[in-house]
Structures are given as structure tokens and as C-alpha cells.
């Protein structure tokens, strides 16, 4: 039974439960709803909730756990001899999965029936060509043990699916019957269904914690895995980044970190003065009309997806810098460069810096401005000598937030900064960043057994720690500052 049908059945049961529960409550009260503890709808609601929610949770948990258990079981069936040189159990296991899927296709298309499948043996039949008929291409011929594992895998999956249907439906029906039969006029149905809803609300807010746990857990787990294969000291202190997919790669983070910081620095140098001046001008000088036109126009920049900036860097800014600045001065010949990525990222950060600083400047009390004007200061003197120092902690916080954005930015650097890991000072040269390398190490076919893939998790953890640290620092500074005026 497919998951969709199962969900439909459970939901149907819930809807039926609502009406039956309601009707039963009214009937028990002899048709007089005043004799009930709660409104009749609450009796229905409690039945609906009890019938559907536990069953759906069970199904979700089952779907999550089943593949893991089956993989474990099937992995035991694969003998060490079936694992090719340089391969891993995981590779064989993914072959097993594809063969099982292929068999399913064969059965669906009536090219094979179950009885034949039981008798089919890989040493007599050419499984590879049979599977090729339904479009499942295999890299090599199938060894008997792998084929048996695939059959076992398929059987286990089908048993699992059947068991799941049975258990989920049984749970739904049992809860349905239980909550329907316990209905009587003095059942506190409203309290029951309200506390049920409250627990659902609490459960939803736990998703945030689960996500963090998932992020930290997967990053840390795979990073530990990585450091078991690759020395941590090399990773943190080596100055070469040179992944080889045959092994013997050098995976030093320093060039990537340098590229990241360099690009972010250029981006901040471009965006902070401009963003700050925009905020100052719009909040202190601009007329109402100009402000109402320019502010949303600049905030449009914040709503544009980063891939658009990436394309802008790739097709407009990059060639422009190469043809008009880098090549005439002989400083570089590549259209992707630190400067390209940095400038475009700077444009992306302008609205971020300006709207944050705008809030902060507006939070400076008017009395401080009035005091400065009263002493005869000009507007710019007031801004430079009174408002900015007062807003400084907030502005620093905003800059740190912008820096954390710049460090975590991916698409602009993927398309604008290049892929060459390099420790250099020339901004017209292509360099690469942590995020670019995460993308390039994890895109395409990934096999979670080689240090070349797992290094992406170590890079991700570094990135996560960096941005989190900057954010916490920024929030700390901003919060401390706010307390001064409120």
C-alpha cells in the first residue's frame, strides 16, 4: 500500500471520527447538548486528533528508520569478497539498491514474475542485460552474492512496507475506537483536545532545535570521520589545496580561508561606506519624497536572489573589470577575480548595511542632535561627532552581521571568484573560497567514504562556527548598545 493511500485512509478515518464522535456525544446526552461538559465539536475533534496524529507520527518515524535498518541487515549479507578494490560497502550497497529497483521495474512491466525471480540466479542469467531492458544501467556484471543481497533487500523492503501499513492502520483504528468509546457526557473533551493541540504546538517549536541538532550533528559526525582519515594538523595548517580523486590529496584550509576573508574584505570595503552614507543621507538629509522613493528602490537589492548577482558578476562585472582594468594594467587576465566577486557582493550587502544602520541612527535620541545643533554644530559635524559615536556599537554590530553574510555567501563566489585555491594579494587574480569548495566537493556523485568528499563537512563546520561566532558577537554588541537608550 503506498504512502499516499495510507495517509488518505488515516485522514478519512479522522474526518469520519469527527462526525461520529460529535454524533455519539449528542446521542449520549440524549440530544441535549447542555448536558455535555464541552461543546459537541470538541468530542469530534478529540476523536479526529487521536485517530490521525499518532498514526501519522508512527508512519513518519517508520519511514525514517526502516531504510537504516534494512541497509544494516543487507550490508551484513554482502561478503567482503564482493567489495571491489578501492570500493566500499556503501558502493556495493547502492548497487544493491539499484538492482532491487530494476527488478521492481521488470515486475511492473510484466517482464518477470515473482516465481521466476525466486529461481533466477546471477550465475546463470545475465542480470545486467535484463536490467538494461528497463533502463537500469549497471557498471559491471552482477555477482551472485550481490544479486542475492538485492533480492533480500527487496523482500525486506516489501515486508517493511506491509508491516508499516498494518501497524499504522491498526494504531489509527485502535485510537479511533478508544477515543470514540470513551465518550460520555462528563468527559472533559475540550481539555483533552486542547492539551493535545498544545503538545502539537510545542512539538512544532521543537523543529528549530531539531534542525540545529541535525546541522551540528551531521557536521560534527562527518568531520570526525574526516579527521580519522586525514590529519587535523594538515587540514588546519597546510597551505596547499589540491584534491586528487585517486588519493594522496592535500587538503589545507588556509588558501580557502584566505580567499574567503579577502573577498569578504573587498565586499565590506565596498558596501560599508556606501551603505552607511545611504543610511545617513536618507535619515538626516533627504526630503520625504526622496526617502520614500530611494529607500524601497535600494531595498529591492535585498530581495534579489544571489544567483542573479552571480550571473551579473559572470557576464557583466567580470568581463568589464578584465577588459578595462586588469588587462590594460597587466595585473590579471581572468574575468573571475577577487575584485569581481567582492564588488558584486558589496552591492548585495549595501541594502543590508544601510537598513540596519538606518534603524540604529534613528534610534539615537533626537535630544542629542538638538544639543549639538544648539552648540552651533553643522549637520555633518553633528553626524560625525555626535550621532556616529553614539551609534557606533550598533554600526559595528551591523558590519559584523554583514561580514557573516559575506563569509557564508555562495553563488556570487561560485560564479565570480573562480576555483583556483591560491594564497596571493593580487585582487585581479581568481581565488577560491570555503563555500565554493563545499559546492565543488559535494556536487555530483558523492561517496561518503573518501576524505575528498568528507572534507566538505569539515569546511562546513568551519563556516558554521565562523558565522555563528560573528552573529553571536554582533547580537551581543547590538543588544548591549540598545540598553543604553531604552
Amino acid at each position: 500500500m503506498s504512502v499516499g493511500i495510507l495517509i488518505a485512509i488515516v485522514l478519512g478515518l479522522a474526518i469520519a471520527g469527527f462526525f461520529l464522535g460529535r454524533r455519539r456525544a449528542i446521542a449520549k446526552a440524549g440530544g441535549d447538548s447542555r448536558r455535555l461538559h464541552s461543546l459537541p465539536g470538541y468530542y469530534g475533534q478529540s476523536v479526529a486528533l487521536f485517530a490521525s496524529v499518532p498514526a501519522l507520527i508512527l508512519m513518519a518515524a517508520w519511514l525514517f528508520v526502516q531504510p537504516i535498518l534494512i541497509d544494516d541487515k543487507v550490508a551484513e549479507l554482502i561478503p567482503d569478497s564482493a567489495i571491489a578494490d578501492g570500493g566500499s560497502r556503501g558502493l556495493v550497497l547502492s548497487d544493491v539498491r539499484r538492482i532491487a529497483d530494476g527488478i521492481d521495474l521488470l515486475v511492473v512491466q510484466d517482464l518477470l514474475n515473482e516465481a521466476d525471480l525466486q529461481n533466477m540466479r546471477a550465475d546463470f542469467t545475465n542480470v545486467r542485460s535484463r536490467l538494461g531492458e528497463v533502463g537500469v544501467a549497471l557498471g559491471a556484471n552482477v555477482s551472485p552474492s550481490v544479486f542475492e543481497a538485492a533480492k533480500a533487500y527487496r523482500d525486506a523492503q516489501r515486508t517493511g512496507a506491509t508491516l508499516m501499513s498494518v501497524f499504522v492502520l491498526a494504531l489509527a483504528a485502535a485510537m479511533f475506537a478508544f477515543s470514540l468509546l470513551r465518550i460520555k457526557p462528563d468527559l472533559r473533551a475540550r481539555n483533552i483536545s486542547e492539551s493535545f493541540v498544545l503538545s502539537l504546538l510545542i512539538g512544532s517549536s521543537l523543529v528549530a532545535i531539531l534542525t540545529t541538532v541535525g546541522i551540528v550533528g551531521s557536521l560534527v559526525f562527518e568531520t570526525i570521520h574526516f579527521f580519522q582519515m586525514y590529519p587535523a594538523s594538515e587540514f588546519f595548517f597546510s597551505t596547499t589545496w589540491n584534491p586528487q580523486f585517486r588519493g594522496g590529496s592535500e587538503l589545507g584550509i588556509l588558501p580557502l580561508l584566505w580567499g574567503t576573508l579577502y573577498v569578504s574584505f573587498v565586499a565590506l570595503v565596498a558596501s560599508v561606506p556606501i551603505g552607511l552614507m545611504i543610511a545617513i543621507y536618507l535619515s538626516e538629509y533627504a526630503s520625504k519624497t526622496l526617502r520614500s522613493l530611494a529607500k524601497p528602490a535600494i531595498e529591492v537589492l535585498a530581495g534579489i536572489p544571489t544567483i542573479v548577482y552571480g550571473l551579473f558578476a559572470l557576464i557583466t562585472v567580470g568581463p568589464f573589470i578584465r577588459d578595462w582594468i586588469a588587462e590594460p594594467t597587466g595585473l590579471g587576465s581572468s574575468s573571475s577575480s577577487v575584485l569581481t566577486a567582492g564588488l558584486v557582493m558589496g552591492i548585495m550587502l549595501i541594502p543590508f548595511v544601510s537598513s540596519l544602520s538606518d534603524d540604529i541612527i534613528n534610534a539615537v535620541p533626537q535630544s542629542m542632535r538638538d544639543g549639538a545643533y544648539g552648540l552651533g554644530a553643522t549637520r555633518s559635524e553633528t553626524i560625525r561627532q555626535v550621532i556616529l559615536p553614539a551609534a557606533l556599537p550598533g554600526v559595528v554590530g551591523a558590519i559584523l552581521l554583514a561580514a557573516s553574510r559575506a563569509i557564508g555567501e555562495t553563488m556570487i563566489v561560485v560564479l565570480g571568484a573562480g576555483a583556483a585555491a591560491r594564497l596571493g594579494l593580487n585582487p585581479f587574480e581568481a581565488m577560491t573560497t570555503v563555500t565554493v569548495k563545499i559546492v565543488s566537493q559535494l556536487t555530483g556523485d558523492t561517496e561518503f567514504a573518501s576524505p575528498e568528499t568528507l572534507v566538505a563537512f569539515a569546511l562546513g563546520l568551519t563556516l558554521f562556527v565562523f558565522t555563528l561566532g560573528l552573529n553571536v558577537l554582533a547580537l551581543y554588541i547590538v543588544r548591549k548598545y540598545r540598553e543604553q537608550y531604552e
Binding site: S218, G310, V472
Partner: protein
């Protein structure tokens, strides 16, 4: 002492300087100049910001608008039964055995015939070279047309076939006679032939609807590449995000805003939400790869995985917006509900939530718009794969490979043929149009329904 020195101050300063408020002295002039400079710098910064917006949009539009138009060649194709249906039985199975290679000669013959009818000589080109003006995708197009109704075999049909990418580029200014001379894929003679065809009215540029509906095409056929699968994939992902993020986000916000006690546990949740809002999007991609694909065994490149990852990413946005909008409902509403005997839960679900709904929807749409444009996490969960098959209808379609709009843009920028840059910009325009529509809906919702208390 101080009194004495203060009274002596004027004499200590020497003779009084003659100044007038009407005449500016040097220092005032300098200060005024500094003021004007500062103001100018501010104005320049604002101008730069606005110019950046205009430049960005203009560069995309200039590069991309041409992708909505495509060069077509109009030919009368005789669907020759000798080639397509040798047995003459009109049996679908037998006709299906004829591959696209069987259709290419029909097009070649049709083009040569059309040229002869219009008095255009081949001039040093073989018929095969002339046929290279027609896209390699055209035989497949023709085959699909025949397979849709096999009784058409034997008829002569007028067909608008795609011109090859280089020919299309010639009319869009990407390919010139000089560049064609150096190009292996096209020769100046072929371009001249194209010009003659254009004069004869056989070749023309017109609106290209298949850009929005066709699937992606291979490296050598930029003219046939379209956004169909990507738009469908993005739509599926948005459905998943909407179905998961809206209820989860609203439920979490209601709990945190209305029910949560002030304690460590609540603080922990709040800190988590604000931190998640600042985690780089690519980290969510790593999470998706490690947990959903590797651990839970969901298929790669499937909209369900993309949707789940984007849900986790947009959840903080939706929670923050929902909480703000719940907070803006005045406490008097809650008090009034409680006063007439509603339970806490009833006051929230019957009174506060409906009043906060416009704000929640606005926040949700903005969160969705953010999710629609997000690229980096999708790269990691395999959405970069080359997908030509449309995913089937939900719910099965959620688990089948699909592309996504922003990832399609990235994909096209990685290809060699410059024609794909045009396609990528065109795809960006489509993406931006969707975003503008979503944001406009959000603004309209806010303007129409938002209440000021």
C-alpha cells in the same frame, strides 16, 4: 580665583575682532564646504545604490530578453510513408522503431525543396550542410508530432522548425561573419544562405513559447533548451514548503508567543530560531545531503528533499513574521475573549489568529519568495543533474528527479556555448517575474488587510 579670571577674560583675548554674521570668515567657509562635501557624498552613495539596481536589472534584461524570441525555419515536410512506415500498416509499434535519424532526411529534403521553389541556389554548400541550419532537435520534434497521430503519415505538413543555435545567434548579434569563419559549427556560407532564406520569408524570428515549457537540452542544442522541468520542479518544492513551513511555523509561533512560559527551555528555542536565521544557506544543503539523502535514504534531485531543506531554511523567516503579527494584535482582544469565558486556546484560535492572518500570509509569501530564489543548498542535494523527463503528478512526482529554476540558471552558466548565457539571463527574468508577482501579492495583502490598532 575663577571669578577673577573669568572677568579678566575679554582683556586677555586682546582687542575685539571685527566680525559680522553676514560675512563668512574662513573657518565658517571651511565648515560649510565640509558640510556640502559630506552631503554630496551621501547623495552620491544613494545615486550609486539606485544605479546599482538599475544596472543589475538592465544587464539581465539586455542579455536575457532575446531568449524569449527564437529563429524558426518554415518548411513543408512530406511525411514520406516509405521512410516512416515501410510496411504501410500504420502500426504504432513499427513506426516507433524509426528513430530521429529516420526523420532527419525528411527535413533535409523539405529544406532543399523549399530553397529550389524560391530559387535559392546552394552555392558551394552540400544539401547536408544546408540542413545544418535546422536544429538537431527538429527531427525529435517532428517525430513527436508523427507519434501523436500516426495517420498523418503521407501528408505534407507545414512545420516551423527551430533554427540551429548559431543561426539564431547570428540574428541576435552573437555570431558574426568573422566569428563564423573561425567556428567549426557554422560557416559564413551557411549564414549567407540563412539571409537568403530570410529574404524569401522562410526564416524568421518569433516568440518562443517552448522556452517556458520545453525541458532542458544537451550542450549542443541551446536553441531547444527550455524551463519546463525547472518551473515544475520549483513549483513542487514551493508546494512542499508551503505545506510544511506554514503550519509548522504558525504552530511554533503561537506556542512561543501565547503559551510558552518564561524559562530556560523557551530561551533555548528562541536562541535556536534566531541563530538558524543567520546560518549560511549552504549549511542547510549539507544538512539535507547528510540527513535526508544519506541517512533517511530519500532520492537525490527530488523536489521533496529540496522542499524539506527550503522548509527548514524559511521556517525562521515565517516564525519571526508570524510572531510580529501575533504581537501586534492588542491584548484587549485576548482579554475580551477570556472575559466572556473562552479558554486560552479558544481565544487564540478564534480571535487572535484570524486577526493576525494577513500578517502571517505576508510573511509566508516573502519566505516563499526567498526559498524560490535560493540556489546553494539545492546544488548539494543533486538538483544540478541533467533532467529531461517531466516529474509526474504529485505525490509521486515529489520523489522523482526534477530541476529548479535558480539551479537551471547555474547549470546553464556552466556550459560552453555562449547561447546558454542568453538562456540563463532569460531564466533569471522568469524567476524575477515570479518574485515580483509574489512580493506584489504580499504588499497588496498588507495594504488591504493590515489593521492599525
Amino acid at each position: 580665583m575663577t571669578d577673577v579670571s573669568a572677568s579678566q577674560a575679554p582683556s586677555a583675548a586682546g582687542p575685539r575682532r571685527r566680525t559680522s554674521l553676514l560675512e563668512l570668515d574662513d573657518r565658517t567657509r571651511r565648515r560649510n564646504a565640509a558640510e556640502a562635501r559630506f552631503r554630496l557624498m551621501g547623495l552620491l552613495a544613494v545615486t550609486f545604490g539606485v544605479l546599482a539596481v538599475i544596472g543589475l536589472v538592465a544587464s539581465i534584461l539586455l542579455n536575457g530578453l532575446s531568449s524569449f524570441r527564437q529563429t524558426y525555419i518554415t518548411v513543408d515536410v512530406y511525411l514520406d510513408p516509405v521512410r516512416l512506415d515501410k510496411a504501410g500498416t500504420r502500426d504504432r509499434e513499427a513506426i516507433a522503431k524509426v528513430t530521429t535519424f529516420g526523420y532527419a532526411p525528411l527535413l533535409e529534403k523539405a529544406l532543399v525543396d523549399a530553397m529550389a521553389a524560391n530559387g535559392i541556389a546552394l552555392e558551394g554548400l552540400s544539401a547536408k550542410q544546408a540542413a545544418e541550419l535546422i536544429s538537431k532537435e527538429a527531427p525529435a520534434q517532428l517525430r513527436r508530432y508523427v507519434m501523436a497521430d500516426v495517420s498523418r503519415i503521407g501528408e505534407t505538413v507545414t512545420f516551423d522548425v527551430l533554427a540551429a543555435g548559431r543561426i539564431d545567434g547570428y540574428y541576435k548579434g552573437r555570431v558574426t561573419m568573422e566569428s563564423a569563419a573561425l567556428d567549426r559549427n557554422v560557416s559564413p556560407e551557411q549564414l549567407m544562405l540563412a539571409d537568403q532564406l530570410k529574404q524569401a520569408g522562410l526564416l524568421g524570428t518569433k516568440f518562443n513559447p517552448s522556452f517556458f515549457s520545453a525541458p532542458d537540452a544537451s550542450d549542443t542544442r541551446p536553441e531547444a533548451a527550455g524551463l519546463g522541468v525547472a518551473i515544475l520542479g520549483s513549483a513542487y518544492m514551493m508546494l512542499v514548503v508551503l505545506a510544511l513551513a506554514l503550519p509548522l511555523g504558525v504552530a511554533a509561533s503561537i506556542y512561543l508567543e501565547e503559551f510558552a512560559p518564561q524559562n530556560r527551555f523557551t530561551d533555548l528555542i528562541e536562541v535556536n530560531i534566531s541563530n538558524l536565521a543567520a546560518v549560511p544557506s549552504i549549511v542547510f544543503g549539507i544538512l539535507g545531503l547528510a540527513v535526508f539523502i544519506n541517512f533517511a535514504g530519500l532520492p537525490q534531485s527530488a523536489p521533496i528533499v529540496g522542499g524539506l531543506v527550503l522548509t527548514l531554511m524559511t521556517l525562521p523567516t515565517i516564525i519571526i513574521a508570524t510572531r510580529a503579527s501575533l504581537k501586534s494584535v492588542p491584548p484587549s482582544i485576548r482579554d475580551a475573549a477570556l472575559g466572556v469565558g473562552a479558554s486560552k486556546m479558544q481565544s487564540v484560535f478564534h480571535h487572535v489568529l484570524p486577526l493576525a492572518m494577513p500578517g502571517i500570509l505576508t510573511g509566508t509569501i516573502i519566505g516563499l519568495a526567498q526559498a524560490l530564489g535560493e540556489t546553494a543548498p539545492l546544488l548539494l542535494i543533486g538538483m544540478v543533474a541533467f533532467v529531461r523527463e517531466y516529474p509526474s503528478a504529485p505525490p509521486e512526482g515529489f520523489f522523482e528527479p526534477a530541476a529548479a529554476l535558480p539551479v537551471q540558471v547555474y547549470n546553464w552558466t556552466q556550459r560552453g556555448d555562449p547561447a546558454f548565457v542568453e538562456r540563463a539571463s532569460g531564466a533569471i527574468i522568469v524567476l524575477l517575474v515570479f518574485l515580483v508577482i509574489m512580493n506584489a501579492i504580499a504588499i497588496i495583502l498588507r495594504r488591504r488587510f493590515e489593521r492599525r490598532w
